[in-house]
């Protein structure tokens, strides 16, 4: 008796690789073309509930909020960083000084007594937004040697905007 196909073909299945390679190349080209090299982005959270003053509990010690005023120069440049009534300057180190002053106010990072302190940032209308972000960063905390954020202040808000000439 003759078995059909016996001895004629090996049992090995010949896989068609060409379509798979085509698809893989298409995918590769798609991902290569859509890839954008961008710097990593991070956030600063600010809480801005409308018209709702912060809840106050009578039995807690209320610490005064920190007020930072950013004064704009001509063309939107920085003319001064004011912490309360103190002028911290308008150079690159002004924000470092602000950071140090905030640390002095809170004592040490994570201090439970200063957890509810809020920083109110009042920036002049024309001030470049980049300076405002630097001030928010300086109030937020500092990076430790490993690049982790050591947080000084949890709550940051903006003062209402004042339009020029108003």
């Amino acid at each position: 008796m003759k078995v059909r196909g016996a001895g004629k073909q090996s049992g090995k299945i010949d896989l068609q690789m060409a379509p798979m390679i085509d698809v893989v190349f298409q995918l590769l080209i798609f991902f290569m073309l859509t890839m954008k090299i961008i710097a990593p982005e991070g956030d600063f959270n600010i809480n801005m509930p409308i018209g709702a003053p912060a809840e106050q509990q009578d039995d807690d010690i209320q610490l005064p909020d920190i007020k930072v005023h950013l004064v704009a120069g001509p063309g939107g440049g920085l003319d001064g960083v004011m912490l309360g009534r103190r002028n911290l300057g308008n150079d690159d180190q002004a924000f470092e000084r602000l950071n140090n002053e905030i640390l002095k106010i809170i004592g040490k990072p994570g201090n439970p007594l200063t957890k509810d302190i809020e920083v109110e940032i009042k920036a002049d209308y024309n001030l470049h937004y980049g300076f405002t972000v630097k001030a928010i960063g300086a109030c937020t905390g500092r990076n430790d040697s490993k690049g982790n954020l050591v947080r000084y202040i949890e709550k940051i808000k903006f003062a209402p905007p004042v339009t020029p000439g108003a």
């Binding site: 690789m17 956030d43 600063f44 801005m48 950013l70 470049h128 209402p160």
Partner: protein, 164 residues
């Protein structure tokens, strides 16, 4: 006289190493592609601050607002007015109230309180701060139909370590 049977002149290329490399490349590009950043507008030159950290848990829903300037190829401003860049259109920041109200109503119709939505502001470092504050104010305002405004905001910055 006997001749050796002639071998095929078509060389057989071993495709295996090439496929290996292509798969490695494909995997690499798939891993580093960040689909979260598709809402970011390239025209916005973000401020730098190394203390800006990405959120530990990614937000389920947010509203990304890109604010910047029209710039030429060399990065110079061609129009001094700050614009809100939307998909396919742009508008002055102070005239975006109808768009924001539409978004508030849309979230409300989806059964999501706008208070729970974080508005992520990606603004150019040269935009006047006052305009960003006005934008926040417009976000906070109620929309028609007694729909509440947005209350949570996040400000984006480039978090390069040496950018301090």
């Amino acid at each position: 006289m006997r001749f050796q049977p002639a071998e095929s002149t078509v060389p057989e290329v071993d495709m295996t190493p090439m496929i290996d490399i292509v798969f490695q490349l494909l995997t690499f590009f798939m891993m580093i592609t960040n689909f979260e950043n598709l809402k970011a507008d390239e025209r916005v030159k973000l401020p730098d601050d190394s203390r800006a950290k990405p959120p530990l848990v990614s937000r389920e829903r947010d509203l990304m607002l890109n604010v910047g300037f029209e710039r030429d190829t060399e990065g110079n401003k061609t129009n001094p007015a700050a614009l809100l860049f939307l998909a396919g259109e742009q508008m002055p920041v102070l005239q975006c109230a109808p768009f924001l109200n539409r978004e508030k109503r849309l979230f409300n119709d989806l059964g999501i309180d706008p208070k729970e939505i974080t508005v992520v502001i990606r603004a150019d470092s040269e935009v006047p701060t006052g305009e960003i504050q006005e934008l926040i104010k417009l976000c906070q305002q109620q929309a028609s139909g007694n729909v509440g405004g947005f209350q949570k905001f996040a400000l984006k910055a480039k978090s390069e370590r040496d950018a301090q």
